[in-house]
């Protein structure tokens, strides 16, 4: 089939249903579990949709995550990039270069260390709920609660002043928006990198008890890490640290408001939270545009040969609804065993902040359920504004009352 005749990717949710990741019309056009789709940048990619195939693809060392390579499946054109502007962005690196940087961060985010900041997460959630209470009713849950919670926490961990949140949230929104113009993306990167570079300079001479200070003192000052690399690493953590969890909270609350029995059960029994969070991660799969890769050698995925130099995209949202792994994958069931979900990705790039994300989601949902037993939607659920062009899907607003 000619490229122009292929289904256009990325897919969208139906306008009135943020919980269905792909419209039935688009799904019907996918004629195989590994099938070609057209990209908005002009090329095409092999779309991989089954759970087992997505796991195989993302764990395989036959694929590169370096988006600067020719043929990489891009959703928007790359801005003109200097090597400096890519430095430290280990999510786009392969092999040892990736491991070198990731391993400087793994201990920071491991379960034991996230458990140590439980009081901070509790405090941030309670204070944000106070702010929401004071703002309404009604109030926009996204602006008053879902966004501030992870943003305050990641700022604290990184040592980034939360008072600058309007600056970095606006620019990280551009970086994640696949409809943003390349020049706009370039400016956002330059401004964010400049901001973090200045902050790192300050922390090198006046360190605090935070991740950027630790890396500045222990790795940059010792010559082990270039300052630009730390800028890139901090940028990645700052963006990933607030956008993802914020959108999970917003969509989770909307979903639970539509399943009041599950919300009441969570309110009555906190022990349900861990299983419910896993199911929410599976069901909502907010990285709806999938994970892009480029094959570096021929490899068979799902009985299909992907050739060296060909692009492939792992569609997490459909893999997470694979009926072979999750019976009735299209149904939300917080009592199911959802642990095999791929919402955090898979392979060496799997989300480094997942213990933090889980902790934030658990505390945010449990405390919200307890403190606002009368929480209700204050808008038509079919007409809520959604982030359709962001690579992290979610609600732009969630008006609630109580």
């Amino acid at each position: 089939m000619r490229t122009e005749e292929l289904p256009l990717f990325p897919f969208r949710s139906p306008d009135d249903d943020p919980f269905t990741p792909v419209t039935s019309a688009d799904r019907d056009r996918l004629d195989a579990p590994v099938t070609r789709v057209r990209l908005p940048t002009g090329g095409w990619t092999w779309l991989v949709t089954r759970h087992a195939d997505v796991k195989q693809l993302l764990r395989s060392d036959a694929f590169s995550a370096d988006m600067s390579a020719p043929g990489f499946p891009l959703l928007r054109l790359l801005p003109p990039q200097s090597p400096q502007n890519r430095s430290g962005s280990f999510i786009r690196m392969d092999g040892d270069a990736h491991l070198r940087l990731r391993r400087m961060l793994t201990a920071e985010f491991m379960i034991r260390n996230i458990a140590r900041i439980a009081p901070l997460i509790d405090d941030v959630v309670e204070r944000s709920l106070d702010a929401m209470r004071d703002a309404g009713p009604p109030a926009d849950l996204v602006a008053t609660f879902a966004l501030p919670v992870p943003s305050l926490v990641i700022c604290h961990l990184l040592g980034v002043p939360y008072t600058d949140h309007a600056f970095f949230q606006q620019r990280s929104g551009i970086l994640l928006d696949r409809s943003a113009a390349p020049a706009q993306v370039h400016n956002a990167i330059v401004e964010l990198r400049g901001y973090l570079s200045d902050l790192i300079q300050v922390r090198r001479t006046d360190p605090g008890d935070d991740l950027i200070s630790r890396l500045a003192v222990e790795r940059v000052a010792t010559g082990e890490l270039e300052p630009d690399e730390l800028v890139g690493m901090a940028l990645l953590l700052l963006i990933a640290g607030h956008e993802t969890t914020a959108n999970m909270i917003g969509l989770s609350v909307l979903l639970l408001l539509q399943h009041p029995a599950h919300l009441a059960a969570l309110r009555a029994d906190e022990d349900l939270a861990d299983g419910m969070v896993e199911e929410l991660l599976r069901y909502l799969s907010i990285v709806r545009t999938g994970l892009p890769r480029l094959a570096t050698r021929d490899v068979e995925i799902g009985g299909h040969t992907i050739r060296a130099g060909e692009p492939a995209t792992a569609l997490l949202s459909l893999a997470n609804r694979d009926d072979d792994v999750f019976g009735d994958g299209a149904g939300f069931d917080p009592y199911r065993q959802a642990h095999q979900h791929l919402a955090f990705g898979f392979g060496v790039h799997q989300c480094i902040g997942q213990p933090l994300a889980r902790a934030e989601l658990r505390v945010a949902l449990v405390r919200l359920a307890r403190r606002f037993p009368g929480l209700a939607l204050a808008a038509d659920p079919a007409k809520l504004p959604t982030r359709d062009t962001s690579i992290v899907y979610g609600l732009a607003e969630l008006p609630v009352t109580w």
Binding site: M110, R112, G345, G347, V348, I352, Q354
Partner: protein
């Protein structure tokens, strides 16, 4: 002979799925956050969760030998 849990720290990316799944058997070290095995021959009651940890490990760093 009990199954032997083996880990490859060179492959580990510290995502922590194993610790979440079975903290009695798996941990991460303070320095690098990479996997360490607390109990290389866990009791049979843990077999299912050991298998789950193998399955969930994103980098394929955990294996089980013998039974």
């Amino acid at each position: 002979m009990s199954p032997q849990v083996r880990v490859d720290r060179d492959r580990c990316v510290g995502a922590g799925n194993c610790v979440l799944t079975l903290p009695a058997v798996f941990d991460q070290d303070d320095e690098e956050g990479l996997v360490v095995v607390l109990d290389p021959e866990p009791p049979a009651a843990h077999a299912e969760l050991v298998a789950r940890a193998v399955q969930l490990c994103p980098s394929g760093a955990i294996s089980v030998a013998g039974d």
